[in-house]
Symmetry: C2
Subunit: 150 residues, 2 copies
DNA sequence: CTGCGTGCAAATGCTTTGCATATGT
DNA sequence: ACATATGCAAAGCATTTGCACGCAG
């Protein structure tokens, strides 16, 4: 029942919709769709309008309370933000390094949806070619343009 | 210019829309949206209706010629299928193993969109807990239900 | 009491579908 | 000739928005 305190700490006005949605997400082991949240609210005596659900999730997202994943076609899942981390991407050609926010959250949800597996750890090593190097290659490739489907 | 042969080989009726879309995808270094394809077709003298684009992509997808990724909000990208591989998911508890189709394609597109990096290689190690084990845990956790936010 | 949150209904954006016509084999 | 592909316009679905009202601070 400390949802209101949590909201207040985040300078978010406390309303029944926000309390309910925050509580629901914190209790739920899975990420939920907006529709899920809407339906569950109707199940209990708290009727929250679908647009309110979206607006609340948007507020939470902007306050880094909730994160949103795209799953399959046009469905999105929402869950409370867990720890965040990044990965280093190192260009194989020029060795430049850049950071990307870990894309695995997306994968975790995807895999969970497909297989029921709850991913707890991952190790991700990415190698690639940065945009500048790609362009250089593209130019020098204008000569030997017979590497289709290689 | 061998698009028609390719289509015929796949038992797909050859039409200008299909040839055009197949060629466009095979020439494009990036995955494209349906809209992209539509717009480019208008640029040249080949007018292809947007619904035809979608229908064609659907046919290609069903024939494993094209794959579809979800990127960001409600946008999807399409590209020719490249090699496919899987990863092993091993449950940390019961050691059961299952295969998942490599989810990195999705990531590759995402990263490319965000950073311009073209990923060429990845190493992905996943650890997790399978659904059965999750359930067992859930049950035995009913006792010590004070691990919120841990 | 004042502004922000909410419900409602209408609008949006991407995608899909029904139907009549055009095209490939 | 016949089945399938296409264009067009209308429907669908998840999400967003405008507006009037209601509630939190």
């Amino acid at each position: 029942m400390e949802a209101d305190i949590f909201l207040r700490e985040n300078n978010i006005k406390v309303t029944k919709a926000r309390i309910y949605i925050y509580m629901l997400l914190s209790k739920s082991p899975n990420a939920l769709t907006a529709e899920d949240i809407y339906n569950r609210s109707r199940g209990e005596n708290i009727d929250i309008n679908l647009s309110t659900v979206y607006r609340t999730l948007e507020v939470f997202e902007k306050n880094n309370i909730v994160e949103k994943f795209n799953i399959g076609e046009n469905s999105h899942l929402y869950s409370l933000v867990k720890e965040k981390h990044s990965h280093i991407l190192k260009c194989s050609l020029c060795n430049k390094e850049i950071k990307v926010p870990c894309p695995m959250k997306q994968i975790e949800e995807l895999v969970k949806n497909q297989t029921g597996f709850t991913l707890t750890e991952h190790k991700l090593v990415l190698k690639g070619i940065c945009s500048e190097c790609s362009e250089k290659i593209a130019k020098s490739n204008k000569n030997d343009k017979d590497n289709k489907n290689c």
